[in-house]
Subunit: 336 residues, 2 copies
Amino acid sequence: MVSLKDISVRCGVSVATVSKALNGHKDVSAATKERLLKAAKEMGYFPNSQARALKTNRTYNLGVMYLDEAGSGLTHEFFAKVLDSFKTTAETSGYDITFINRDVGRQKMSTYEHCKYRNVDGVIIACTDFTSQDVYEMINGDIPVVTIDHIFDCRTAIMSNNEKGMEELIGYVTKMGHKNIAYIQGNKSAVAERRLAGFYKACMNRNIEVNPDWIINGEYHNPDMTYELTKSLLSRNERPTCIFMPDDYSAMGGFNAIKDMGLSVPEDISVVGYDGIAYSQLLSPKLTTYLQDTEQIGVTAAKQLVSLIESPQTTFKEVITVDGKLLEGGSVKDIN
Amino acid sequence: MVSLKDISVRCGVSVATVSKALNGHKDVSAATKERLLKAAKEMGYFPNSQARALKTNRTYNLGVMYLDEAGSGLTHEFFAKVLDSFKTTAETSGYDITFINRDVGRQKMSTYEHCKYRNVDGVIIACTDFTSQDVYEMINGDIPVVTIDHIFDCRTAIMSNNEKGMEELIGYVTKMGHKNIAYIQGNKSAVAERRLAGFYKACMNRNIEVNPDWIINGEYHNPDMTYELTKSLLSRNERPTCIFMPDDYSAMGGFNAIKDMGLSVPEDISVVGYDGIAYSQLLSPKLTTYLQDTEQIGVTAAKQLVSLIESPQTTFKEVITVDGKLLEGGSVKDIN
DNA sequence: AAGGACATTTCAAACGTTTCCGTTAATTAA
DNA sequence: TTAATTAACGGAAACGTTTGAAATGTCCTT
């Protein structure tokens, strides 16, 4: 690998001058600067990121912290898409992305320690158990952090607008004449709370009574459980005309339960999902759902994190809400 | 951050001794070694990965190279799952994962240059355009590389067993009585070639004539295109009884085309997919498909890459084939 | 002509490791 | 007893940068 020294001997200047020229310092003449830049390009020079990091304490590396469990994380379409746009934006700003976990190799270490070890400049936390010790340690550490879909005191958070999503969905189904609405909600979490709050509020605004027996505790990303819950829900004496599923993926389970009971969507039961994943729009009928703006969430998270890193005065806590969009499919019947 | 020097002054030994103790060298007494290890733990010492990398030229970081385009990469379930298990295995061996691309920040650089810049110890190449200049540069470089689903001379490759997959699928559908089989294949690639070869061979072995008009060029991961191709295929005079789709995701497009033509699966047309993604098993009927062993592919890739790095004599080219498993759904009708 | 002001360049230390080699002391062999 | 071997540890250079201070040179001002 060609180093600063190689360039310096070839051009007959000191290493310091080369460094300054390449980093755009002003105390080097335009002539030599050009000469050195040219030589650097010719020789195929690239800075050694480790050496630079050692001196500057900046790695231009961002850590990604997420839950590493089956059925979650990378294989979760929502997270994958957010990560994808986060990554693209971060790269444009000159940052690379590294996965951060606990216990790398033989070393027992926490996620925070891992960050210290790798010296990441900042961390994005998403799709994880926000009550875990590891998250707690990160939040209270001195590394810039942006969380997604969870709000901590004194940390910047990017929130998908769950209240608005619920408001729009409820608005839509009530316009279609539904009043008896069930809601199979996801795991206990900030997201679930906000959606439920949005659900209640939207119903209240329309003078629709919420039947507490129809608020059912399910799980995100769990079609099997949703299948069972849907089935048991529909086996009761009184049936809702419309079911809100935890998310689009789980909704597949709900669809199947309905079908297996000899009913059909939307003729007998209307269904809405949440997320707007690709598959949901390939079903027939297409699922009526709320498309979360994963692109915008990822981009915003990256921009916030970078600005947190690069302009430390930005270190106040900020909560940024990203709106989504209702996708009108054919899974909700007009019963007016 | 606590450094070796901090430990050395506290314990009254030299930095060199601390380094050796912590790295398990033999020329340090058991007593002091224990004392130093204890101090290190107490003080919360973690090595500075940059400083270490600078000296040793080993970063314990692996690069991931993949196609960063819409509908591919991270949001591709096959790739996401492979990456997930790759990551887990790599971490167990003490390696972290960093995404590698071109043009990070203002710097214009190739993927290979990026690897040099970040000093990754090895690279996994997957889910990309294997004919690109960037891949070519990587393959001819001096960084350990493992490719997934593509074979280069002198580079280790992990191959999903596409021939066997096709063999099993053809075996299954012929057992169900199908002889008129169409195949909408994916983008021109090593994978597509192997599947097609497997398709032909399996048919030949059973004395089934392949109708060349029924070998159709489609695209992977493209439900819309598959929709159109399926529709035009079924509009011809002569119809196949069974259609092989490029993959499960695309198969959704095929399903919809069939439905939109007033036909149904499997009564009128049988369908098989490829991949075994989660969604395919939530459809009704469930899709009959071939489940690729993403877990095994990821694990094997990681192990091979690590051994390539850690025991340089392993640098011979190796091609490892990973078998999958037929998933019998309900999308193929028994027409015997 | 001497002094300062400025532009340009170099020196040298530092970042936190690893590792070769040398030193000392202790142990063993002859 | 002496020489040789070994065990345990320290010195110091090196990896490739960055950066403040010092050095050099040039030009302007008075």
